[in-house]
Symmetry: C2
Subunit: 298 residues, 2 copies
Amino acid sequence: MTRNEGQPDILVTLTGVAADSASKPSAALSDPTRLLLHPLDVGITRGDGIFEAIGVNGGHPLELEAHLERLQRSARMLDLPPLRLDAIDAGVRLAIEQHTSVPELLVKVFVTRGPEASGEPTAWIHASEGPDYSRARSEGIAAVTLNRGYPRDIALTAPWLLQGAKTLSYAVNRSALREAALRGAQDAIFLSTDGFVLEGPASTVILRDARGFRTPPPEDGVLPGTTQVRIFRELEAQGFATVTEHIREEELRAAAAVWLVSSGRLVVPVRILDGAAVPLDCKVTDMMLDILTSVTNS
Amino acid sequence: MTRNEGQPDILVTLTGVAADSASKPSAALSDPTRLLLHPLDVGITRGDGIFEAIGVNGGHPLELEAHLERLQRSARMLDLPPLRLDAIDAGVRLAIEQHTSVPELLVKVFVTRGPEASGEPTAWIHASEGPDYSRARSEGIAAVTLNRGYPRDIALTAPWLLQGAKTLSYAVNRSALREAALRGAQDAIFLSTDGFVLEGPASTVILRDARGFRTPPPEDGVLPGTTQVRIFRELEAQGFATVTEHIREEELRAAAAVWLVSSGRLVVPVRILDGAAVPLDCKVTDMMLDILTSVTNS
């Protein structure tokens, strides 16, 4: 992953994002090279916080409302105070407006529980031009399946494990990507211990088979995918069948095509899975990319 | 948990802690209220880093060498560069020396992978006087068992899940403590899906039964406990039987006594487990506390 040079990142710091905060919400443009967090902020010391990454295409944020709702859902799962989403929305729009116009921008929103015992979340927004994913999008990538260690029903039986929340505790997700690289692949697909397809470390899985376009449901302990939801909505409008229901490992291996979708890379087809070739469906990949980059956004 | 006021925290920032670092290792005293991390440091954005918490009793760090070795082990598990432990050791001693003399100090060492693509870890040390644990130590606490979601052999079968590494991705550990609080308890003991005792969110479990003093082994995906190892070493020297071997849930519930041990709280007996009374063995608790607070440290 190489960063584009020359287009400076934008940093927006937010105050008063908690609904119960004493201070008024405000967003301030800040120096992106400045130091940011207090050493006792539990966002650092405990990975105790949440985030969202919003793709911005030609200045238009993709599914911003869905991202902010998911941020609120993560806040609830971590027992953080309810967030003032309008203030965060304004911060995201400020970051987009301040960044040089680029075809693809990635805007990340971070909220931590704040410095120990402060009760006041720390929040900021970081906007940067993403790497060039065009080759991965057209040629596809190699992925490996990795055991996530949990049974499929873990989010229902043990909610304290926070499966399905988008937390700052992402060390396992990074570790899975290193394991994939060791196996000669660029990405991973997590499986449950009972043989069901979950998600990528930073993406949602979509496959196509005789039943239509399929993805696992949030009840399976996966992050509800904002990019996936938008794609399914448009596919349905175009008359395609979509199924949000659990997927067995063997169904993944037998699929007519497999994609990993996310806010940054948008849509990347899986070309090789655990060393075996997976058919590419370039027409559908392009259709999905069109869905995501069309200007009629919410 | 209330913090003692009046004894200012000490912050030491470290540079050049990676063995392959271009810069010489150095430790600098820093303002503990200053902002510390770059917004793109993956220690914040991904919980991608490691830490250790070292108890300091009357100025003597407990098992410092074991803590530093465990930090190196965590670094290896996360594929971080090897660390210059001598530089970190010097930083820890500087922090202790600079802090006002107090009976119990907690020194935390943090190492992140650093700002994205920098390849240079960020490292710092934070020393603060701990809360007063005397009541928990003498009266014991209520704990609940919580499903950790993983089978006992997860560290061996899926090392990318980082079980047994002390990472900054501790959101689940904090969430487990909130779940315990909801159930009217002060702490939790994780169980594997196949019914074995693992560890607390921030402690090692020791129990006593007919076989002696027992604790689960690191192969069960638990953090190798520095405090537990010291206690076992001294108990063995005093002629007690110690067993580091897996423990079944029923053995925990039938134990003659149960303790949670860690660098900060040292030794806390479990008085109530899932609502059922557990016998207290105050004599042994005191013996363990004596072991940890005797001055003859490594």
